[in-house]
Symmetry: D2
Subunit: 337 residues, 4 copies
């Protein structure tokens, strides 16, 4: 089976497994785990932040950030298709009592004008804007890698209004690789960034949340509230440290995605846009089948992808999928359609 459901399915490498077995550990809830400390320091360094925090999942990282940046009853501005709106169980409302103000943002990035138009000063009746939450790459819009200049302008627009900015950077290194910039082009302008070790970077578990020292200090408290403190977490931080150095490898995933998209697009009736990173969205409407039917059919041929809309299938390339797998996957899908 060629598993293209998500880059979260990657299995840890042998080096990662060894690193886990050999990790120096301590009780991280007491702040005693040297490997976690090293991971947090290295993560902060890479994204150009004062400090970072290891969390069990990207969702927890995003939710902590929203809670730390805001007061209850404020509004958070986000693209309407952002992960925090679609896939986090209304967490902004549940954990932080935030009202979401969704924007239909081209490529998932609100323009400075959209931010300004969405901004509310607050008052007796109106909530005030407390957060801008961005996402890069933008998952639901097809792994789009945001332009660093446009990104910085949007962030600046929020800052000019006194609004902090959080970046859901679950796949921010894919964006950096795609646009051939250092990741700090995205992470330095924002007030906090979450990125995942367990996606394209290949770690088994965990995400990083980075920001100022004061931000991370508050984040530790909210992580505890959410139950995200772990004990000898060095055992998973160790593979995470290796994953951090896998950033350049993402280029391979992107090439595989490009090959895959081109191959799939040759199928009559399947509409596939050239991908920007490692996510390929295929529109099955021209095949006269729903995404769900399509996915069942290709699974019979040994290829797994995921449903992303009534007529949209998502394929994600990753570390565990080779160029040969991609060719095999294309052939398998072509066999059927």
């Amino acid at each position: 089976m060629i598993d293209l459901r998500s880059d979260t399915v990657t299995r840890p490498s042998d080096e990662m497994r060894e690193a886990a077995a050999d990790a120096a550990v301590g009780d991280d809830v007491h702040g005693d785990d040297p490997t976690v400390a090293e991971l947090e320091a290295r993560a902060a360094e890479i994204v150009g932040a004062e400090a970072a925090l290891f969390v069990p999942s990207g969702t927890m990282g995003n939710q902590i950030a929203a809670r730390v940046h805001t007061e209850r009853g404020q509004e958070a501005i986000t693209d309407r298709e952002s992960h925090v709106v679609r896939y986090e169980r209304a967490g902004f409302a549940q954990h932080s009592a935030l009202q979401i103000r969704t924007i239909d943002a081209e490529r998932g990035l609100p323009t400075p004008e959209q931010v300004e138009a969405a901004y509310l000063e607050g008052g007796l009746h109106r909530p005030e804007t407390g957060l801008l939450s961005l996402e890069n790459t933008h998952n639901a819009r097809g792994g789009l890698a945001l332009d660093p200049d446009a990104f910085a302008e949007t962030v600046a627009a929020a800052h000019d209004l006194g609004v902090p900015v959080h970046l859901d950077g679950a796949r921010v290194f894919n964006a950096a690789v795609a646009n051939d910039v250092d990741v700090t082009a995205y992470t330095e302008p924002v007030d906090s960034v979450m990125f995942c070790l367990s996606k394209g970077l290949g770690a088994p578990i965990g995400s990083m949340l980075a920001g100022s020292e004061a931000f991370i200090e508050a984040a530790i408290g909210i992580r505890k509230l959410l139950g995200g403190g772990m004990r000898q977490a060095g055992m998973v931080a160790a593979p995470g440290l290796l994953a951090l150095e896998n950033r350049d490898h993402l280029q391979t995933d992107h090439e595989n995605a490009t090959t895959l998209a081109a191959g799939l697009d040759e199928i009559e009736g399947l509409a596939v846009t050239p991908p920007e990173t490692n996510i390929v969205l295929a529109d099955t409407a021209g095949l006269d089948v729903t995404a769900s039917t399509f996915l069942e059919a290709i699974e019979d041929e040994g290829v797994q992808a995921s449903e992303f809309g009534p007529y949209t299938a998502r394929f994600v390339t990753h570390w565990d999928v080779t160029a040969a797998d991609i060719e095999a996957a294309i052939e398998a899908v072509q066999t059927r359609f």
Copy 2:
């Protein structure tokens, strides 16, 4: 001063004052106030509901309804310009832990297709849709009176998906009068309706929330939670009972609004659409002044209206404003611009 800021500014009539003074009262928290009981029964009758509840404000009525209909972590579908989004301090998130899914709905009424597209079944990651909240007349879009058939179709679309529908009918009688239908055209299809006694109907205080008996029983509990239980509430219910019979008078407010809009629109540079009910929105951009400057200027001339956007002023006609006042107001504004 001619006060056109809102129809909430109406002062109680002499009959209302007398009714308050003479009201039979009891402790309504104990269920002992006969005047409140009469008001609730009469309100239920008018809107064709099993039961009704007296609440101190429209905001409380809307918030109670959302809480009773939903579970925390669900989504509520609303027009992006609805009162519950704009003017209730993120109450859906704060009181009910709901994520709002806003729709850019023409005339403020999501179409059945928009409801279907916005609907979510829920799942491990996704919130499920728990409420459709409508508003009629639609305040922020200029007092629009929704078409009863279109309204019923949208409600039916939600019901087909198993989604309950609340109507923020703060000014629902204005809509009924404007479209020359009985109010039940709007209130019978929905699962709950809130309407205000203290707006065009002229009562000093209070709103009504109506729905099934089970809904109202739960609503009483949430009213208590919010601190909305009042003691000898008959003193304000008595004027409310008179207000309930003021529904036909709204026709006069609408005529005054039409006259006002026409008069204001004659002013070079002021763009005013003919109103559907008692709300008149005037666009000041063509005058090269902000709404705020415009409002200050006309207040100097003895006319008050309210700011509704950077270049939008809102005028609302009501019981305390006569046709002569309207002529005077037009003249006063024309004097200045």
Copy 3:
């Protein structure tokens, strides 16, 4: 029927009804109601606070105070039998995400030592103490009027720890009258006080929340969130202004309560402690009947009281009950037991 269920059942006097009918009013949500403004100013003056706010109920006043004083996730210290714990639907948790730390306080007043022992500094795992909520008179413990000096010492203990203090003073004037002190003995030391117009003072509707100007400004926002803003609220503020001057009358209620308690205690098997204010608790265990059976029986004789525990009945004297009514009530109960 002699209604001794609560002092909330009082009906407004003719003067109050006239005051309502004649009240100068405006839209209080816009800050335009002169009678509300007068009531708020007079209330602030009486309790020695910078400012005050009219709210529909005591519960709303208490809940607003807790929300304004605290951050979510803090602890509030209260007596375990306080109204905010027993009768406000877990509002501290629901509105303010507070954990309640209950103290079994003699006479309902935690001692300074108890406050110090309950105080938490907070930390990674522990909530920090954010509020001390006191109640005077203490309803569930039998209308106890707290000693002003002991009260002030407890408040001082909290202040020394940096903890703000709210007083649920629903019946604080009863306490002042009972101890023959000015009410400011209780209200000046605290950071906020709520007191009810609609209990012993005899108003039909409403309570006052008082505190610093900054506190009241924030309180207005939370009142809006809870849906407690009312329009021409002057109609109920006017009787409230008269009620404010009924403070001395409470002495009569206390005398009636003393008479009632003595009369009831003569009944073999009924244990009644001499009351401190207007609340009389009667223990029915010695009669071998539950409170519920006892209450049904005396209601047949024309006397209403309320259930306060499995074997505890509560009688409350108030403005609408005369000394003659009290004698009649005693006789009626004696007839039966």
Copy 4:
């Protein structure tokens, strides 16, 4: 340094490290991790539950359980010194909008009578009881191992009232070993149990939540809300599987604790009760030093323990501490005091 701060500080054994390195893994958020599945099945089997769920921390397990069992605005009954009250950041209020009703329970276990007295049916004003949360062994009261019969009676009392019971069994195997019963004596009567792999059992990370299939299905949703879903979690589940078989070893920890307590108690002025499990509380008041001073002093001698109250130090024995370490620790403390 002999680290007796907590049994959470244990480092994984070589077997655990190897197991992590060799674990079969998959994406557990997709339900594809065979090692997690095995761990969950084995954990359910051991505690006699239908199903179990792997969570990153005990706090998360407790918080999920409270959320799944209750409705917002209910009350949870707990001992006043329970972990959920002391050390989980007011999570019951923050995540589940629960009011905590604390009981001063002897040995931390409310009696059936206390449960019945604390039970509330609910009503217009009163919250209803929605949960009884027990803890065994009871940490803050000194690692007390509850009597199985008394435990079952308390659970039955709650069930008779229709109240579900959650067991915070972070150290429930210590209780079973101490009372020489199968753990099901504690876990079968309750509706859900959380126990920690990462305490005395020696795993690096994680806790288990067990209950009915319906309970666990709902728990998965709340785990996602809290951000507790992890990807290739098999790497930490594998050591967890080994930890599950370490239950009998806890006997050694208990013996060490008994030795430690006896040795410390010989110190003039230090009051130490014989422990029931692996937790030793030492009262420093008789030494005329605070716990904090005491702890600093013994740390200089190479022994770490933790502060548990102004004059209470807690020592916890665990897998990484041998009988020789215990002798050394006693000597070190005796050197100083």
